[in-house]
């Protein structure tokens, strides 16, 4: 789960990480009031969306799709600038390299005081799955795309791994600061900041904290100029405040509804809907559809213990997508019994008035009963014995590949 920069900055500030003064705004009036209250001659006017590349993005009018302004993060040198930029950003769509062509509607703005920057750095904390520990990464090449830095000049990225038994230790903070070339007051400031940042990471069950850039000011203070924070959703049960931090407009409505019913759904661009039990098999089903010339319309895992009602919900979610021309159901019954799935499929087909071809592949527990139930129905359901046969059948039923 991602949160906005302004929300991340509030968390950083509460944890003791130095950030600049800033105000979250949802209107031009608020932006102007923020400028007045900050008392900083230069301010940054920043679009708040859950995607990177904002500074180099482009603002468009949501209706006409005409370009409004270059850049979704602007430096304002006057009150007029603030008014101009806030007007151009709020209610318009920001397209960046990470948003896709449709871009994201900007409803939130962050107006932040400026500071005198001496150097920009990169800092990130994340869980390293191979090392099974929290990894801290820092670089002197702040403000740049870190993937490029890692690719072109890997020696400029410094890493420390935190042993969960020992926690983040003083020498590690010092070593990392010195590797960045810091000394004196700036090193001291970095040392303190990194300790606070690590504590925040652990206390908030973060999946990633990325600060790009982290800056050294001309006064030798280390300040987080940006903030990109995401949480580990598995830990939601112990963070009641996440409900307020969640911006549902940033998430796919249908994916949220699927999750509420215990389904895992991801929309794709193809035309063959898939309904599968198990994440690995659901991915494999998509792969095999593609292998036989089709294009999957979605990933959908109904989980290990789906009942008739969930199967019905799964069908209705698949059919919401107007691109869907056919559906492949692929179930390997373990705990889930094939006869129950067969009844669920028939119930859903009847109540939803399914009018696209349907191929059902059943295997595992009670497979014979399941097949018999499907065969006895007078519905237009095409059985398949294995995944390859199922994929070939559905591709040919919708008239071949695209």
């Amino acid at each position: 789960m991602n949160i906005h920069e302004y929300q991340g900055k509030a968390l950083l500030k509460a944890a003791g990480v130095p950030v600049l003064e800033g105000v979250h705004c949802t209107s031009v009036e608020q932006a102007l009031a923020a400028y007045d209250s900050l008392g900083s001659k230069i301010v940054a006017v920043k679009s708040q969306i859950h995607a990177g590349g904002r500074g180099k993005g482009t603002m468009y009018d949501p209706e006409t799709r005409e370009e409004v302004m270059q850049g979704g993060v602007k430096i304002a040198f006057s009150r007029e600038d603030v008014e101009n930029y806030a007007t151009n950003i709020l209610g318009n769509v920001l397209v960046t390299i990470q948003t896709g062509d449709e871009g994201k509607l900007v409803n939130n703005l962050y107006v932040e005081a400026g500071c005198a920057i001496a150097h920009e750095y990169y800092l990130a904390l994340l869980v390293d799955r191979e090392d099974k520990s929290v990894l801290i990464m820092a670089s002197t090449e702040g403000g740049m795309d870190i993937e490029d830095v890692a690719h072109n000049t890997p020696e400029l990225i410094h890493k420390i791994s935190v042993d969960p038994n020992a926690g983040l230790l003083g020498f590690q903070k010092r070593d990392l600061g010195m590797a960045l070339g810091l000394s004196g007051a700036a090193l001291k400031s970095f040392f303190k900041m990194l300790g606070s940042m690590y504590d925040l990471f652990i206390a908030n069950d973060c999946a990633m904290v990325e600060i790009n850039p982290l800056v050294k000011t001309e006064d030798d203070e280390i300040v987080a100029l940006d903030s990109k924070i995401s949480f580990d959703e598995n830990a939601e049960f112990r963070h009641k405040n996440w409900v307020e931090l969640r911006d549902l407009s940033e998430e796919e409505d249908v994916e949220i509804r699927a999750k509420e019913t215990g389904l895992s759904y991801v929309k794709l661009d193809g035309n063959i809907g898939c309904l599968v039990n198990g994440a690995g098999l659901a991915m494999a089903t998509m792969d095999v559809i593609k292998l036989y010339g089709g294009e999957p319309a979605n990933f959908l895992d109904v989980g290990g213990g789906a009942d008739e009602e969930q199967v019905k919900t799964a069908f209705s979610i698949i059919l919401e997508d107007p691109n869907v021309k056919g559906i492949l159901v692929n179930i390997f019954g373990g705990i889930m019994r094939c006869d129950i799935i067969a009844r669920g499929v028939i119930g859903a087909t009847q109540s939803l008035g399914l009018d696209v071809p349907l191929v059902v592949r059943l295997a595992g527990t009670n497979v014979d009963e399941g097949k018999a139930i499907l065969a006895a129905s007078d519905l237009n359901i095409h059985p398949a014995d294995d995944l390859a046969e199922g994929a070939q059948k559905i591709v040919s039923l919708i008239g071949g590949g695209e």
């Binding site: 191979e130 994440a279 390997f332």
Partner: protein, 303 residues
């Protein structure tokens, strides 16, 4: 012989009084698994499925001399259940196998639990977010997890996979060419887990019953690539492989917490390439795993 879990292993169930724990304990018993007790703090002294319930893992292992435990504890408490089990096995027997089925454990809880287990050399963790481990016997066998027991048969193919239902698919594929399994392990789909691919490959390589291996990966991380490189140097037995997620879009989590292509890394293509570079025979369609395995067995003179 099989790996890690023998057919007659003595097994405990943590969370046996819960709905999931009780249901699956029953299924494990039906399969022939030698269950010796359960653990639910505060419910010691009760009896479930004819088995004694204990308050703690130390008590349970001391009383039953269990070799392994299966955890069906809900996510908020599962990390601690792993640590309790690791501590108890180390203290009472100096060794043990922990299988954690639970899906949805916070990643930082797993960072702590995995580190705790790693400090105890003879304690092994399998999972979490996995179907478990099964060693089929001629009749019955040891089923530690949620897989459908009846699809398996004792044999010479070792199976290791990140995914549950895809493991069942692989089992069915071995059966389609009249081959049974030595041991099948689901290592789980979480970003941080216990036993990894390499440890499984090493154990299969050392196991006289196992003569060939099926390895199934999925997008995310680089465990498959590391395992392939390791296998190239260290594995003499034929390996066949499949990787799920060739059509998965980048940046989207595909059901499993760990199944995500991030920063362009961890793609299926990358993993297939690593497999092929290591001489692992790949199926691009899991329905072909059986035929690919058959060809590998023939090539090795095993059929």
């Amino acid at each position: 012989m099989a790996i890690w879990i023998e057919e007659d292993a003595k097994v405990l169930v943590q969370g046996i009084t819960g709905k999931q724990g009780m249901f699956h304990a029953g299924k494990m018993q039906e399969y022939g698994t030698k269950l010796v007790g359960g653990v639910t703090p505060g419910k010691g002294g009760q009896e479930v499925l004819g088995l004694p319930v204990f308050n703690s893992m130390i008590e349970a292992i001391t009383e039953t001399d269990a070799d392994a435990t299966v955890i069906y504890v809900p996510p908020p408490f599962a990390g601690e259940a792993i640590i309790e089990a690791a501590n108890a096995f180390e203290m009472v027997k100096g060794k043990g196998v922990i299988v954690c089925i639970t899906e949805g454990i916070p990643t930082l809880d797993m960072v702590n639990a995995a580190a705790y287990v790693a400090n105890r050399a003879n304690v092994r963790l399998i999972g979490p977010n996995c179907p478990g481990i099964i060693t089929p016997g001629v009749t019955g066998g040891a089923k530690l997890g949620i897989m459908p027991g009846h699809i398996h048969a004792k044999g010479r193919i070792g199976i290791v996979s990140k995914s549950g239902t895809l493991t069942y698919e692989a089992v069915a594929q071995t059966m389609s060419i009249d081959e049974g399994q030595s041991t099948c392990i689901g290592i789980g789909g979480d970003p941080v887990n216990g036993t990894g691919f390499i440890e499984c490959l090493a154990a299969f390589e050392a196991d006289p019953q196992t003569e060939a291996i099926v390895m199934i990966g999925e997008i995310g991380g680089n465990a498959e690539q590391e395992a392939a490189a390791w296998a190239k140097e260290n594995c003499s037995k034929p390996i066949v492989g499949f990787v799920a997620g060739a059509t998965a879009p980048p940046g989207k989590r595909m059901g499993h917490a760990g199944a995500i292509i991030s920063g362009g890394k961890g793609t299926a293509e990358e993993k297939f390439e690593a497999f092929e570079a290591a001489g692992i025979a790949c199926a691009r369609d899991p329905s072909e795993l059986g035929q690919v395995l058959l060809a590998s067995l023939k090539e090795a003179g095993l059929r």
